[in-house]
């Protein structure tokens, strides 16, 4: 056991967290305007957008993985465009994984932020507009600080969900060590070659990290609600 811990190859974990970190940052920047729009709009197209956003929750990762794989490959216009224009391949490498993860984890960023924005007292936002502040400033200074629990939940759940991703990663990235072989894929391979000991260690680490992360989120949320109180 100790031997295994000493010779433990941490590359899959580092890869997993790098992927999750990048995905979370990109989705926070892209997902926030979408969540804000969905929370404020009265447009009839809102349910359509919401349904599209929620699709990755329902779809089997293999379906999502298949479409992304096809879309990013040289056989599709998108993949061909990137290959021809920038000379970049988008499948079976880390870039492809990040793109795929952004689609896969989109609802986990957008939904908590949207319900956070929706819970804000509209008069409070209007008070900020009347004070002469733009929408952008209102979001940054008034909306986000008052929905910290929703922001933290969105960020952590997106991060955690990306770390826990398996099907999409396998479809789009395969299992190239140091490039696309993330922790979940590594565990799958240990089981496949019947190296249960390594599988145990890797899985145990994943469970511990996930638990600590989630526990910190819940503790933070409880503290925050006590301090700021309800929004109205």
């Amino acid at each position: 056991m100790i031997e295994i811990l000493q010779t433990l190859d941490l590359t899959p974990f580092i890869l997993s967290f790098k992927l999750a970190g990048l995905t979370t940052i990109i989705l926070f920047i892209l997902g926030m305007p979408l969540a804000w729009y969905l929370s404020q709009t009265k447009s009839k197209s809102k349910p359509v957008l919401e349904a599209i956003t929620a699709l990755p929750i329902v779809l089997p990762p293999s379906v999502l993985g298949f479409y992304i794989l096809w879309a990013l490959s040289i056989n599709s216009p998108i993949g061909a465009f990137f290959e021809e224009t920038f000379g970049v391949k988008l499948v079976f490498n880390f870039t492809g994984l990040v793109i795929a993860s952004c689609f896969y984890s989109l609802p986990f960023m957008v939904q908590p932020l949207q319900s956070g924005f929706e819970s804000i007292n509209k008069n409070m936002l209007e008070a900020s507009y009347i004070s002469g502040k733009s929408k952008f400033k209102t979001i940054i200074k008034v909306a986000l600080p008052n929905i910290k629990p929703a922001v933290i939940t969105a960020v952590i759940v997106t991060f955690a969900h990306t770390v826990g991703e398996f099907g999409v990663v396998l479809m789009v990235g395969g299992s190239i060590p140091g490039e696309t072989k993330v922790a979940s894929v590594a565990i799958y391979e240990f089981v496949e070659i019947m190296d249960y000991e390594s599988a145990h260690v890797y899985s145990g680490i994943m469970v511990s990290i996930s638990f600590v992360v989630l526990l910190s989120v819940y503790i933070f949320n409880a503290k925050h609600n006590k301090k700021i109180g309800s929004f109205s």
């Binding site: 007292n121 008069n123 409070m124 209007e126 008070a127 900020s128 507009y129 009347i130 004070s131 002469g132 502040k133 733009s134 200074k141 008034v142 600080p145 008052n146 301090k227 700021i228 109180g229 929004f231 109205s232």
Partner: protein, 283 residues
């Protein structure tokens, strides 16, 4: 000078109605906006603030806020707005709530002084009472030295003692800054104390416009007093009928004749008045 001439179709609880208001408000005037709920008072305030769209023209000191071609955003109108539910920013302290609007520390300190909030300047809104929150909200609305101050039933959620205190502070602020003000209110004593003019809306139209005394005093002709109330019940006692009427939280009994009792409908609004305090001699 503020000129308002607006139109908007509203879909209220009691069906569609057309909010159609044409008003002009003088500088420094304090206008109370009164009327039944659903008569369009809040919508009118929101239209003035640019929070809701409408057809028509709004002009303030010669500057066009809205006409058929364009409409200034709420950000550019320079108004103060006091919401019924305070709408303070919970993540900022009292002072930060004020400075968020304009970084004018002197003005903020002065406003907090007038409203006796200086001691509380570093507290978060969540730790304040309703009356304190509304005073912060009032100060915040004054921070950008608004051309027009709009208040939507600012005191209706407070108890009567706190109301009186805030009424005094609103009066002091109005005297000191001379801001043209429109306030939605149902409370006759509040209107009488604060406003120099009352505009009464009903189903989207102005039905009364004048000084508080002219509009609010219910007596007409030689009546000595007159109260409005709701007819709760008519009871027959021997040969007479007694109407039970609720007037401002109190029940009174009034003797009515059998003919009168037939004309009255239970639940309707009635007015109770008397003239016979002094004998009248007719030749």
């Amino acid at each position: 000078m503020i000129k308002i001439d607006i139109n908007k179709k509203l879909h209220g609880a009691s069906g569609d109605m057309n909010l159609s208001v044409s008003l002009s408000v003088k500088d420094n005037e304090f206008v109370a906006l009164s009327g039944k709920s659903g008569s369009g008072k809040t919508t009118l305030l929101r239209i003035l603030a640019g929070l809701e769209e409408s057809d028509g023209v709004i002009e303030v000191d010669g500057e066009v806020w809205q006409n058929s071609k364009r409409s200034l955003s709420p950000q550019k109108r320079r108004i103060g707005f006091v919401f019924q539910d305070y709408a303070l920013f919970p993540n900022m302290s009292v002072l930060e709530n004020l400075l968020y609007v304009v970084k004018d520390r002197n003005l903020a300190e002065r406003l907090l002084e007038i409203t006796e909030l200086r001691e509380l300047r570093n507290r978060l809104p969540n730790t304040l009472s309703g009356g304190q929150k509304q005073r912060v909200s009032l100060c915040r609305a004054m921070m950008n030295r608004p051309k027009l101050l709009l208040m939507d039933e600012p005191l209706s959620a407070l108890d009567s003692e706190m109301r009186m205190k805030l009424q005094r502070e609103i009066k002091v602020l109005h005297e000191e800054f001379g801001t043209t003000t429109i306030m939605v209110s149902h409370d006759a004593s509040e209107i009488y104390r604060l406003a120099s003019r009352v505009v009464v809306l009903d189903v989207g139209k102005v039905i009364n416009d004048g000084t508080p005394k002219d509009v609010l005093l219910k007596t007409s002709g030689s009546q000595k007093f007159s109260f409005e109330g709701e007819l709760l019940d008519i009871v027959k006692v021997d040969v007479i009928y007694i109407a039970i009427i609720s007037i401002a939280q109190q029940l009174v009994e009034v003797v009515v004749s059998s003919e009168e009792s037939k004309q009255l409908i239970i639940g309707q609004k009635v007015s109770v008045s008397t003239k016979a305090f002094t004998p009248i001699i007719n030749q």
